[in-house]
């Protein structure tokens, strides 16, 4: 199974990018979709309407940073997708907390940035941009080329090895080019999946540098894939 993790600020166009990818792969490629968000999401309806049959799972992180929640549920999420016999798992993270990053050492880590966020927005997003493999810049249809150029340069200031794709996620312009990356992707090996980076705050085992995925491996505020609301546990296995 291949794995793609998309993160980015609210309304950056993450779901629009995902839907464009699905439009080109569905139903030939079996896809599962996992969304991690804080309180409200519409992806179940958004994806379900256009792509009936794609399993969609929503995880609400509540008080927890969505990237932390992502780490906890990722292992279960991968098992869930494998049980669905999926060939591709797409994870969308709300990425509200700009100190963390949800990317793993395998698969593709994609930061979705909207051109409407302003030319300096990449500089404000730290590891979400810094640790990503790919930046997908959306809403290029609305912005002057001059600002697009400056934006590109700012992204490269934060991460000079990032591969940058500009798209209009409303019309799907530029998505085909991004899909080439997917062709080159390797299958993940779930046993050796770890986080790419360490979050800067020390409130749990993730923050202090334990990179394993799955709630079993963590202490602190943890959560499982199928718990909702304030049903937190404080200790892994």
């Amino acid at each position: 199974m291949k794995l793609m993790i998309l993160a980015g600020p609210p309304s950056a166009g993450k779901t629009s990018v995902v839907k464009n990818i699905m439009r080109r792969l569905y139903p030939k490629v079996k896809i599962s979709f996992l969304k991690i968000d804080v309180v409200v999401t519409f992806e179940k309806e958004e994806i379900g309407k256009d792509f009936p049959g794609i399993p969609v799972k929503i995880v609400y992180s509540g008080d927890l940073c969505p990237d932390h929640a992502g780490v906890m549920v990722m292992k279960d999420g991968i098992e869930w997708a494998e049980k669905n016999k999926s060939e591709l798992l797409i994870v969308e993270s709300a990425g509200l907390c700009l100190r963390c990053s949800p990317y793993l050492n395998q698969g593709l880590g994609i930061v979705v940035l909207s051109m409407l966020g302003g030319m300096n927005s990449p500089l404000k997003m730290g590891p979400m941009v810094g640790l990503a493999d790919i930046a997908v810049v959306t809403k290029i249809d609305l912005i002057s080329q001059a600002e697009r150029e400056v934006f590109r340069q700012k992204v490269h200031e934060v991460n000079n090895s990032i591969r940058l794709y500009e798209v209009n996620a409303l019309q799907g312009t530029g998505i085909d080019r991004l899909l080439v990356e997917l062709k080159d992707m390797k299958d993940i090996k779930p046993e050796s999946l770890v986080l790419k980076g360490v979050p800067p705050l020390g409130v749990c085992t993730i923050c202090i540098g334990k990179k394993d995925i799955g709630w079993q491996n963590h202490f602190g505020v943890i959560r499982k894939l199928d718990t909702q609301g304030a049903d937190y546990l404080y200790r892994g296995e």
Partner: protein, 252 residues
């Protein structure tokens, strides 16, 4: 960047049928108009060119520059990108002074900014009736000023040899001046347009239908004669337009 030729290889229309030509070529100093009804694929064609499509867009067209597949670095490195696209949705977002913004853009192109700001402003002011000054905020510019500054910026700072304009005429740009200047600068320019004057002023006319290029026309001698008359009338209309704007009472 020395561009000698832009080539568009045909793709398919919305029905999936092949376009009825093999390729067409445009050279520096050439202007082409893209015409056709709403939804016929005009924007998609300029987007193909802007993206340097390699049969990887819905239209399956392929774009060559100087008979070669353009290197990917054209898209990745802003200072190498030879193409600029300006549309009616395109806006400036930056809350900066005009001169600060132009300097910032020059910097991202690794270009010395000395002299470029006044030069860009001079060109912008040739294109718009409402004067743009260096101490204006980008965000207070009108639609016409914005488009004029964008074109000037892309020609002077962007130094773009290929300029694509998607329906910008309603922004109040002085079209004949724009045309003359473009020819003089040896640029390749494509206009998506509904304006018959702009269309007839171009060397080539691409007629879009159902997502494909249905016809490729070159302005012939008879049309050139008709064009003269149409331009005269257009000038008359613009004189009246100016007078209406100034609050005059119009009578014949």
């Amino acid at each position: 960047m020395n561009i000698k030729k832009l080539t568009v290889f045909s793709g398919v229309d919305k029905t999936g049928d092949a376009e009825r030509f093999k390729k067409f070529e445009i050279f520096p100093g050439n202007t082409a108009a893209i015409v056709g009804p709403t939804g016929s694929g005009k924007t998609s064609l300029v987007t193909d060119i802007e993206m340097l499509a390699q049969r990887d867009t819905v239209t399956r067209r392929k774009i060559l520059i100087n008979d070669k597949i353009p290197p990917f670095s054209y898209r990745q490195d802003p200072s190498k990108n030879p193409i600029v696209l300006i549309t009616q949705h395109t806006n400036f977002l930056a809350d900066l002074r005009v001169d600060d913004f132009l300097r910032l853009h020059a910097l991202s192109r690794q270009m010395k900014s000395r002299g470029t700001v006044p030069k860009t402003l001079m060109l912008a002011n040739k294109l718009t009736g409402e004067k743009v000054t260096e101490n204006m905020k980008m965000t207070v510019l009108s639609g016409g000023q914005t488009r004029a500054l964008m074109i000037a910026d892309s020609i002077i700072i962007g130094n773009a040899p290929i300029v694509l304009l998607d329906e910008i005429e309603n922004a109040g740009i002085f079209k004949k001046e724009a045309m003359a200047m473009v020819k003089e600068e040896g640029k390749i320019i494509l206009f998506v347009t509904h304006d018959p004057v702009v269309a007839l002023l171009c060397d080539i006319r691409l007629v879009m239908k159902n997502g494909g290029i249905a016809k490729i026309l070159r302005t012939n001698e008879r049309e050139k004669k008709a064009r003269k008359k149409i331009i005269e009338q257009d000038i008359m209309i613009s004189v009246i337009r100016e007078r209406v704007r100034r609050g005059e009472i119009i009578k014949f």
